[in-house]
Structures are given as C-alpha cells and as structure tokens.
Amino acid sequence: MSTQKMHIDSYERNWMIVSAVLLVLFATAVSVAAFGLGIQVPAPEQRVDPRTVATDPNSPWSNPGLREVAPGKYDAYILARAVPTWEYLPKEMTIPAGSSVSFYVTSSDVQHGFKIQDTNANFMVIPGQVSKLTITFDKPGTYNFICTEYCGSGHGVMYGAITVTP
C-alpha cells in the first residue's frame, strides 16, 4: 500500500515554514514581555458612571488635575470630553524630571483616545471605564498629548501638554 504524498511547491512550503516560525517568535516575544519584563497593556482599572463622573463631589474627576501622592510620585486624573467643547481637563501639567505619573483617564461623553508623544502611553478612553498607565518622565521637555480616536468635529483641537522641568 502506497500513500501518495501531496505535492507542495517548494516556494509555498518555505513561506509556510516562515509563517510558522514568525508565529512562534511573536508568541515568545509576547510571553517574555508579559512575564519576564512585566510589560502591561493599559487595562480597565475601575468602572464609573459617565453621566455623573464629572459632577459627583466624591469623584476625583469632579476636580481633575495632578496630585502628588508621595515625593516624586503623582496621580493625574484627566477627564476627556466633547461637551461643551472638545478638551482635556486639565490641559496643562508641570512636573519635575524623574517623576512617575499614574494617569487615570476617563470620558464623560463619547469615546476618546490618549497618546503622549515620545512615550509609550497610547490608549483608548472609554466612557464608563478608567484607563490607567504609569509613566516615568526622566528627560526634561514638553510632552504633548493628543486625542487619537475620532470623536467629532473638534477632534483636531483636542490636545494638551505636560511640561517636565529639569
């Protein structure tokens, strides 16, 4: 009894091998990043009610801004909104170099984005959820942050800046 082997063209076979190797490489890279280096993607931190998050006096977003929780360690509560105008609250923040800032960002209306240039902070801002990410700013300079999810006609003017003083 002879089994006839299916003919695979050598080019096709090589491509299949390369794809399989790539999959294994990516899986390894993701595993090393997650478990070895401890790199985390921005995860939903807590749930809030987008209708009251900006007005409830117990909500930190009713008074958004930068808070120093300990020397050199800050919490930034940022509210992204499209009503009444497209903006971030607060629009500008100043911190000394070497500070570590935990960003807690949420939206009171539609979906927004949050990207800080020259850092790896880039995440979605979803109404009802809080996105959290911690960044350490070692280099002095101005770091602009912009909205990366199309959120309406004022999307293009939705930006702000973090000034890192030496």
């Binding site: 809030v48 009251t52 409830d56 006096p57 300990a70 360690k73």
Partner: protein, 224 residues
Amino acid sequence: MNKYVLNGLYTVIGIVVIAAFAFKVFQPIQVLPRMRLSPAYNFIDQDGQPLTSETLRGQFVLYSFTYTHCPAPCYNISDTMQEVQSRLGEVDLGSIPVSFVTISVDPDRDTPEVLNAYGKELGADFDQWRFVTTTNKALLKTIVGSGFETYYEDKGDGNFALDPGFVLVDGWGIIRAEYRYTTEVSDADRILRHLGVLAEEVQNSTGTAKLAYEAAHLFLCYAP
C-alpha cells in the same frame, strides 16, 4: 512509527491548548491579583499602643483612610467598615482572622484620645478595628501615598483633600484589592466577596490544587 509519535504529540499539544482556553473562558477558579507589597509601618493606635505591619501578619487586613474632623458631607468610610464588620459572619473565613485599620491623615488633631472617642462613637470593637496614626508626617505621607497609593493633602484650613478608598491586604503582606471611587456595586458587598475568595485560596491551595490556583493567577482569572 514516526507518524504515530507525531500524531500523539499534536494531540497532546491540542488538548493542552484547548484546556488552557477552557480554563480562561470558564474560570473554574478565581483569585485576587497580587498587586504589590503592602508598606511596612509603625503606628500608634487609639490606646497609645504601637501597631506595626508585622503585628498583623497572618491576618486579612482592610485599611481605610480618614480624619475625624472631616466635615459633613464627608465621604463616609465608617458606614462601609461597620457594614463589613457586622456582616463578616456571612463569609466562610475558616480560621483566618480579619482586622480593620483606619489610618488618620491628621496626626495634629487626631491624638490617641480623639481616635478612641471616635472609635467608641462608631461602636468599634478595638480588638478587631484599630484607629492609628503617626506624628511623623513625612513617614505618614510615604506610607499612605506611596505605599497604599492613596492621595491626601493638607489644605491648610483644617480640611484635607482625601481620595476615599479601601485597601485589602492578605496574610503575607501583599496588597490584593483596592477599592477606589466607583459607581458599580456597594463596596461592602465586594469586600465581603473578596474576603471569601482570599480565604478559599489560602485554605485550598495546597498540593496539586496549588498549581490550579497558580494557573488562575497566570491566566488572570480575577474575581470581579
């Protein structure tokens, strides 16, 4: 022969992959994340006695933060603490003790005597629920701000900016849950459910079952 070995290998890999997916989807075991280490501290309690982080090793500890001069309408952490304390019998904790620690961020006015009176007013059982602070303000800021990641700041006019919240620490001194501003469910319900989840893990994770619990940590099967 070679073909059978290869087929067997594929089957085993397939079963492992499907089992891993099934574990993640159905989450037969849920745990609380190991977030980070709880800070070490040396506080003075409502009776003037020292309370250190080592005293409470081996217990589940629920921390809350307040100051007694907080003006109405102040976010009332004591309501939640009282509710958790009174409903503790609903949770199967085995033999693991639970302690409550309320840290005052205002050591100038919240002396042990003031904290003692405040605790009595709330009907607290001082063996289980302690009210503490330290006069070393830099240390207090580091413990509460950096350690428990809870923001507070002296406004200078007798009031404090304080983010309400609770922190749950396990018997090894690892922070397992934080309860911040949320509009989802009552904090007391979540805290009680989480205490049950923690107790279950401590009691059941021995021998082979420990591997299943570690798998739950690895696959981020976290209790809501």
